[in-house]
Symmetry: C2
Subunit: 198 residues, 2 copies
DNA sequence: TTGACAGCATACTCAGTAGTATGTTTGCAT
DNA sequence: ATGCAAACATACTACTGAGTATGCTGTCAA
């Protein structure tokens, strides 16, 4: 992807985050770029596609961060801890994107008319489902071997996933605390996630 | 509150839930009522006030449900379990309202111009903070007496609160399962919440 | 040098939307 | 019966915002 297009995506993520994806206008995004609509519509055919590509990139960020730590030979509780500790910094490092994709979970507009938008939304759902499956598998393994107590796995999965995404709701990036605070936070959330399942 | 006004609020909650609060228009709400804008603007001075009153009612629903089970003499883990088991059915019983208030957490438009809207938003923040304090206190008590392990209380609070609100994201009301499923779900989430803190 | 295309900016169109102004009906007290 | 609000419906206005059509400018290959 070209540098210019990536800048537009970054700006869109920030503006969509602060104003809300629906409330924010293309002109708002352009203003935040110091540009005009022309630049945005040169790279993206519609607002829906722009929004979808922001969400797709958010899902991609998380997936790319967690994938390297996957190891089927690890005990489930250790594996889950690793996944959470990889997830948190990735999410907090690209916070605007994840705040936007969170909005799309709550308020499903679904007014996507064009075929391209529908295709992108399908991609997002697939990415999201694949990411969920990563966690579902490790929880399932943990229940099978007795490391986690057995309970409704869908409920457990969604609860844990939302818990480790909770910082998206309240975290505001400060200047200094970046790495220190993030490692502490990651470990605390990993502790809670594992404890919730045991 | 009059019956007619309450009906408008219900319709607004449902439409705002499905279409998103910003994307949905007053005409959409009116159409869902089988009425016209006149009815809505007779009871509410603006869309912002309508949205704010939906959110306020959502906060009120949860608060009214949990308040009766509060008992400072109960052990913290038991108390928390009771609160969660009161919270879940209340939320799932008025799901549209809570889906709307969830949207306002993620996408803070904050374009409220009128004084009335600002006042209502302040009320919502206050209600929300009071509700959080209910949980913060019991977690704090649990940490003090050793029932819960000591950790960053703000992180723990937000994590637990979001976990018990997770069903708002994924729950779709079926016909039959109402009571049975809800009690099972409540107990599972209560288990996870308590376990996450121990 | 020139054309040709990427990468924008400018200046529109037009559908939809919040809000208003003004009827119209219905219940109800006197 | 009648005045009179409450509780709407109807018919507007003014404006925003997505999308488009077109113009402008640098770059780069031939």
């Amino acid at each position: 992807m070209s540098r210019a297009k990536s800048e537009v995506l970054d700006a869109a993520a920030e503006v969509f985050m602060t104003l809300g994806a629906e409330a924010a206008s293309i002109d708002d995004v352009a203003r935040h770029l110091g540009a005009t609509k022309g630049r945005i519509y040169h790279h993206f055919p519609s607002k829906g596609v722009l929004l979808a590509e922001v969400c797709l990139r958010a899902a991609d960020f998380a997936h790319r961060a967690v994938h390297p730590v996957l190891d089927p030979d690890l005990p489930p509780d250790v594996q889950l801890r690793q996944m959470v500790c990889a997830h948190i910094p990735a999410v907090l490092g690209s916070l605007p994107y994840h705040k936007v994709i969170l909005q799309s979970f709550v308020g499903m507009s679904q007014k996507s008319t064009t075929a391209l938008e529908r295709s992108l939304l399908a991609d997002i759902r697939q990415e999201r489902k694949a990411y969920e499956t990563l966690f579902r598998d490790v929880i399932s393994r943990g229940m099978a071997c007795g490391a986690f107590r057995s309970q409704n796995i869908s409920v457990a999965l969604h609860s844990v996933l939302l818990m480790v995404n909770a910082p998206v709701f309240w975290y505001q990036p400060r200047a200094e605390d970046s790495t220190d605070f993030m490692t502490d936070l990651s470990e605390q959330l990993a502790d809670m996630a594992v404890a919730a399942l045991q």
